[in-house]
């Protein structure tokens, strides 16, 4: 411990970097969270007690919100992980056709606003839904409630499970499965006894991440739950903005915090440690012997159905954006876009300015933290890693309320400013940069950096001349992800927007709230177009600079 301190003091730039990161994390991550917990526990007379929780959960409605949120998250975690696994297995272990398309469809929802599907679902399955009312002639079908929410969340979050599981399955050498077949096991036996057990830590990890996402989701439940199916995130928002009850909102956010935090800690420190590293010699060619014809048919059916849904959602949004009145009058019109570019222009510009300003900061900070955490030894290293990931893992609702509580007084009176939204985005999406940085640093053998130091370079020179160029592709892909997230964020940001600084996502929600589905669809289209344009441009520019490496990552 002493030696670690001595080393830190011996290198001033490193020491300053560590201190600065800790100071930033304390102020913009820990302090807001602490404020929420504090407000939920401190009574008006200054005493500490659980009275606020007793009061708020004395109503059956809020108790229902708690159980609804947990039960929904559990169901969605299981279903989304199963579908994600089907996609990942189909893409990595079979030779079914249209694999590239499957991969695209499974990744597309990640770059869409998290509640765009809810808009599409209402268009297709709502009271005047195209499928329910036009195709099936059902006029009393009600999409609002648990089933609607589960439906929307499964489609929204299965890509998260897919990306985790695709990585897991790709890293499992399929010569293990070939070995099992060679030893006389049936294909089903190989799947149950080899593939599935090896993928189990990945499955658990994916399910926990989906669980966290579902708990924290705000947009989908706001649109689809209806008043008979309360959920915590929505109730916390209504409590704060509708009833002006910050204390009650804080208590609900804390109720949301506890299960999320448990799931995050379990995922990070238990499940992800139980990963299997397959030791392999020379890579064998991909062969797809381990999947029977029946299994393949099943996979095609499942992935095909989900893909069809995703495509139909996009079509619905696109058609809806140009329809005069969805459900009644589908004649072509520019009216919705005129509305978006008229009334919504400021929101579009604000969103862009905030996202463009916050992502590079988030990216650089993320890289610095990744470098410190992976490559340097200093006291509090693992604490730094844990805290820096917190804002991403915890529900946005909690963070948003925290920022409102923490930064409404001098000297940091930021409420209603550009800075508060930008800071929120920086610390919420910086973990994407950290994760990308950590992953790529772990692939770079430490001896490459040691070689630079051995040749006389200082830590700072080594970082600039060797580490940074090598992690650049990861840096930019982290940047792209944080940009997309900043463009589509809503759950925390909705507490921070003001008349001066508006966000597109909040606008879309309010259009849905007032029944203007066409305008919401048009807004969504514009948002999607900006994201595709931005990621496409970055991809093109970087592809030229870094070759194929980054193409694969994006």
């Amino acid at each position: 411990m002493l030696a670690a301190w001595r080393r830190l003091v011996a290198e001033p730039p490193l020491f300053i970097a560590v201190l600065a990161v800790f100071a930033l994390l304390a102020l913009f991550v820990i302090y807001p969270i602490f404020k929420v917990v504090e407000v939920s526990l401190v009574q008006p007379d200054g005493s500490w007690s659980l009275a606020t929780f007793r009061t708020i959960f004395s109503s059956w409605y809020m108790r229902a919100a708690l159980t609804n949120t947990l039960v929904t998250a559990l169901i969605v975690a299981v279903l989304a992980t199963a579908i994600g696994f089907a996609f990942a297995f189909a893409v990595t272990r079979t030779n079914i056709p249209f694999k590239g398309l499957l991969n695209t469809i499974a990744i597309l929802p990640v770059i869409s606003p998290p509640f765009v599907w809810s808009v599409a679902i209402i268009m297709l399955f709502g009271r005047n839904g195209f499928v329910t009312s036009k195709l099936l002639g059902l006029h009393d079908f009600n999409i609002y409630g648990m089933h609607g929410l589960v439906f929307a969340q499964v489609v929204t979050f299965f890509p998260v499970a897919y990306m985790t599981l695709k990585g897991v399955l790709e890293s499992l050498d399929n010569s293990l499965e070939e070995a099992a077949l060679d030893l006389g096991a049936s294909r089903w036996h190989v799947f149950r006894k080899v593939t599935l057990p090896l993928a189990r830590p990945g499955l658990a990890s994916a399910a926990l991440i989906v669980f966290i996402e579902s708990m924290a989701d705000f947009g989908n439940p706001l649109i689809l739950s209806g008043s008979h199916f309360p959920t915590l995130a929505v109730q916390a928002y209504l409590q704060v903005t509708g009833m002006f009850d910050l204390r009650g909102g804080a208590a609900l956010a804390v109720a949301l915090l506890v299960p999320s935090l448990v799931a995050f800690v379990v995922q990070k420190y238990w499940v992800s440690r139980r990963r299997y590293v397959t030791v392999t010699g020379k890579p064998t060619g991909r062969s797809y012997m381990a999947v029977s014809r029946g299994a393949k048919a099943f996979l095609i059916a499942v992935t095909g159905l989900v893909s069809l849904l995703v495509i139909s959602f996009y079509v619905a949004i696109a058609v809806g954006a140009f329809a005069r009145l969805w459900g009644f009058d589908h004649s072509f019109t520019w009216r919705n876009f005129e509305y978006v570019f008229g009334v919504g222009r400021e929101a579009i510009l604000d969103t862009l300015v905030i996202a463009v300003a916050s992502t590079p900061v988030a990216g650089i900070l993320g890289m610095v933290i990744a470098f410190l955490v992976v490559r340097q030894r200093f006291p509090g290293r693992s604490t730094m890693e844990f805290v820096s990931l917190l804002d991403y893992a915890l529900p946005g609702t909690l963070i948003g309320i925290g920022y409102v509580l923490a930064f409404n007084t001098r000297p940091l009176a930021l409420t209603g400013t550009f800075a508060i939204i930008a800071l929120h985005f920086i610390f919420r999406y910086m973990p994407l940069g950290i994760q990308a940085g950590v992953a790529s640093l772990q692939q770079i053998h430490p001896s490459i950096e040691e070689a630079a130091i051995n040749l006389g370079a200082s830590t700072a020179q080594t970082f600039r001349k060797v580490t940074l160029p090598l992690v650049a592709p990861a840096f930019f892909s982290g940047l792209v992800f944080s940009f997309v997230r900043a463009m589509t964020a809503v759950s925390g940001a909705i507490f921070l927007v003001s008349a001066d600084w508006q966000l597109m996502t909040v606008q879309i929600l309010s259009q849905v709230g007032s029944g203007r589905l066409g305008a919401a669809a048009a807004f969504s289209m514009v948002l999607l177009a900006i994201i595709l344009l931005a990621t496409g441009t970055i991809r093109l520019l970087l592809g030229r600079a870094f070759g194929a490496a980054i193409q694969q990552r994006l």
Binding site: A451, I453, N454, L455, G456, A457, Q461, L470
Partner: protein, 384 residues
């Protein structure tokens, strides 16, 4: 040689890797190692994996801090000097070439960080070193466009171009195939001697160590077992471990019957043989010893009962003396040599390697044989 003439001095070096969760599982990787290396020498740290050789090298380079002990470079204590402030250059096991830089940029990386060398001088030096390793044409390539041996040469050039006081090699040849390994070790030795750079070379390959070293330091469990020239450690190993690790070894158990004429009369399975002492050993009557017979000093002849029969080709070897009787259990004919394995009652099996096998006559497995040796090249070890 006076102490001031030494380039590297290591004093009482100890490194404990502490397992904080379970202190009982802490590992003492280096245990009180002291060592001096004269200028221009190439010293090899040799030992099985886990013997602490790489840890010592990384301590000299500055990537590990010793738990106790000192490292002196040219008389200056550098134990706590950061690695980038040391005049040492390390050739990494995996080469650690910067994948985003060309060969030229890799080689000039260290030079560019130095203010005391003019750009023209830097260019001249880099060109000279690249031509010495035969890579002048490859300067603009990126490392992944080179073969393993070429990458190895770039790593070597990158280290040498800085003209460091000390060159460090961490198993630099372990990623190459056998033939290239033999070629590269000659090149490394030639370059090292040409530049006269003091070098520490880590390997677990004893033939590599023999081929390139001025001195070999044999390590086991973090301690020095023996240090000496390749000839010394081969012919006069200090311990059974060294005898076994450097080359192949037969041990024939014996008991000292008498001390005489600068040597020992030894009792072996009822025979008495005379073995001259090395001058450093001091055995007394009744001591149990092992006679170290290298396979090339182990001769197998048919047991005809006639002791003192003429031995073909024995002239150059001096007088051959019979030592034990046994039965031939394996014969492997390898062309230039023939390898025999002999079973001796109450003994581990003996291995003999006889060159010019047809002059001696090939023996059939199963036949009764007598094992001969030349006492002048035998070595005695106290039985542990």
């Amino acid at each position: 040689m006076a102490a001031l003439a030494m380039d590297i001095v290591i004093e009482g070096l100890t490194k404990v890797f502490v397992n904080r969760a379970d202190p009982s599982r802490s590992v003492t990787a280096v245990n009180n190692v002291s060592l001096s290396i004269a200028p221009g020498q190439l010293v090899t740290l040799l030992g099985p994996s886990g013997c602490g050789k790489t840890t010592i090298l990384r301590i000299i380079a500055g990537f590990e801090t010793p738990t106790s002990g000192k490292v002196l470079l040219g008389g200056r204590d550098i134990t706590h000097t950061p690695p980038n402030k040391r005049d040492t250059a390390l050739v990494f096991q995996n080469y650690a070439l910067f994948p985003h830089l060309t060969v030229w940029e890799n080689v000039t990386f260290g030079l560019k960080l130095r203010k005391d060398i003019s750009p023209e001088e830097q260019k001249a030096r880099a060109e000279r070193v690249l031509s010495q390793v035969g890579l002048s044409d490859m300067a603009q390539r990126s490392p992944d466009q080179l073969s393993g041996g070429q990458q190895q040469r770039v790593a070597l050039a990158r280290a040498i171009v800085n003209e460091p006081r000390v060159l460090l090699f961490d198993e630099p040849l372990s990623n190459l195939d056998a033939k290239l390994r033999e070629q590269m070790r000659l090149e490394i030795r030639a370059l090292q001697q040409r530049h006269g750079i003091t070098s520490v070379y880590v390997t677990h390959d004893q033939s590599e160590a023999m081929a390139i070293s001025d001195r070999i330091v044999i390590l086991k469990d973090g301690r020095i077992e023996q240090a000496g020239t390749p000839e010394e450690v081969y012919t006069r190993p200090a311990t059974h471990f060294v005898a076994d690790f450097i080359g192949r070894a037969n041990f024939v158990s014996a008991r000292v019957a008498g001390v005489s004429k600068g040597g020992y009369d030894l009792e072996v399975n009822g025979r008495t043989v005379f073995v001259p002492g090395s001058g450093q050993d001091s055995f007394g009557p009744g001591d149990f010893v092992d006679i170290l017979l290298r396979p090339e000093n182990t001769y197998v002849l048919p047991r005809s009962g006639a002791v003192g029969q003429p031995v073909p080709g024995a002239g150059a070897q001096g007088e051959l003396t019979p030592v034990v009787d046994g039965r031939l259990v394996r014969r492997s004919f390898l062309g230039a040599v023939v390898e025999y394995e002999i079973e001796v009652p109450g003994h581990p099996r003996l291995l003999a390697e006889m060159s010019n096998p047809f002059a001696w006559g090939l023996l059939e497995p199963g036949s009764e044989v007598t094992v001969y040796f030349s006492p002048r090249v035998a070595h005695l070890l106290r039985r542990p």
